[in-house]
Subunit: 254 residues, 2 copies
DNA sequence: GCTTGCATCTTACGTTACGTTAGGTTTTAT
DNA sequence: ATAAAACCTAACGTAACGTAAGATGCAAGC
């Protein structure tokens, strides 16, 4: 037989570590075609071919357990298997793209503002993170057209809004303690409400939302402010809404 | 204090399992703000906010160990951290895209031919998998322009070539045993050589390659045939080359 | 006060694909 | 013969939990 390679040679030839070859032997995905009485492993040309398959299938994202089965019976439905695998990979890609988008927007803000308050930062990321689920969630409540309209703002504009919003929130944070109906605070809140309005169309759907019983699922919207600052800001928003002639009850639901 | 939630309630509110909360407590990333003498955990509103951060940072792909540090000192350089993270995610995305491309091409072939011989299949995937490294490798040997020219074939055409090649390889496999210089075999080999020539421009670079000492790194090109079939096919190629008036020595290098 | 039942606790092993010592044996080279 | 490589097995470590198993705790009904 052609038991050509010691494990060291085989390792160099394949680029896999000796430990990996030991492991493959152990779990039975590739046992060397010859083992001496004293336990030394020797691999053949045929083993090289099998390993080639293993490496290739690993590249496609299959687990060693799956690969083991594939090698056992070469009757596996390649087409179905590939299709499933592609679906899995596409899903992973989508997730990564979401993450990259969030990182991108976050960087956009950070590059403009320098280091930002952690809570505000988290709110920003969360908004992006939740966009899809949020959208899906709203589609179950409102009509689809409206939801699409709400989220119709361009990516570029969204970045703008994010930057400005973060700036305003930061300023609000710093103004905490002053009068909620002061000129300065009201001006900021005005801008913030305008920005949010641009982002979500109008806020009337919030009233629809209020009717829905979300059963402790308030975890969806984290606040960018501490408890006290939030109450203070809410007071400011209430005043602002009254000035605009819109009823808005910011008090917590009993 | 506001020790509002038992672990069960907290679990429902956050969507994380009790086990996960136990684990976060264990590794110190989130310890409940109150624990009874008998060990019962109770979480506060503040804990909710911290957990919100944890979940958000996890979404961005950070490890719990990193998150722990981030939470400890809120002086972390957000910008640098985000930039690094983005690079990591982009790299992951690239890798997944390579896999998807390979799966895609493979499916393209399988859908056209039905289940294909495993070895041929592996060769196909491997060609795609290795494309980048291969390209990089060749750039170290040949001039860049030539390398680019070699890989200039369109994606669509590449799929065509792959389908046809697989078909020919399959037929060759079935014809094994007949005379290498028969009309049928030579016709197939002719087509195969033509296809390969289209894919890689011309083969003259193979001669340049022969001068390079690759030191046991032949693992790069797996064969789509078994040992015997390969020898038989090589004989056919040799004959074909002679007919074309090109010297080609398919015999193994001593 | 007692039992039932649910909530919660700790302990600890399983998962994936190896990396990394540690300590002993075998083969090869001098 | 002896030293240096090469190789062996055994076993723990990794990340982020899932999944029992078995022991307590606690509120409610009898």
């Amino acid at each position: 037989m052609s038991v050509k390679y010691s494990i060291g040679e085989f390792s160099k030839k394949t680029g896999l570590t000796i430990r990996t070859l030991h492991y493959y032997d152990e779990i039975g995905v590739l046992k060397p075609s010859f083992v001496t009485e004293k336990g030394r492993r020797f691999y053949s040309e045929q083993d090289l071919i099998i390993l080639q398959k293993i490496v290739t299938l690993k590249f496609l994202g299959y687990s060693l357990e799956q690969i083991k089965e594939f090698l056992r019976e070469d009757k596996w439905d390649i087409k179905e298997s590939l299709t499933i695998q592609k679906q899995i990979m596409l899903e992973q890609k989508r997730q990564i793209e979401d993450v990259i988008k969030a990182l991108d927007h976050a960087l956009n803000v950070v590059e403009h503002h320098g280091n930002v308050d952690a809570s505000i930062f988290m709110t920003l990321i969360n908004g992006i993170q939740m966009e899809k689920e949020h959208k899906q969630f709203l589609k179950g409540i409102l009509d689809e057209q409206k939801v699409e309209q709400i989220f119709s703002v361009s990516d570029e504009r969204q970045r703008e809004i994010e930057k400005e919003s973060v700036g305003i929130m930061t300023e609000l944070n710093e103004l905490f303690g002053s009068e909620p109906d002061s000129q300065e605070v009201q001006s900021l809140i005005n801008k913030l409400v305008d920005l949010m309005t641009e982002l979500v169309g109008d806020w009337s759907f919030l009233e629809d939302l209020a009717d829905i019983d979300v059963e402790g699922e308030e975890f969806i919207f984290p606040s960018p402010f501490t408890k006290e600052v939030e109450e203070w800001v809410l007071k400011g928003i209430e005043i602002n809404m009254q000035k605009r002639g819109i009823k808005y009850d910011g008090s917590p639901k009993g």
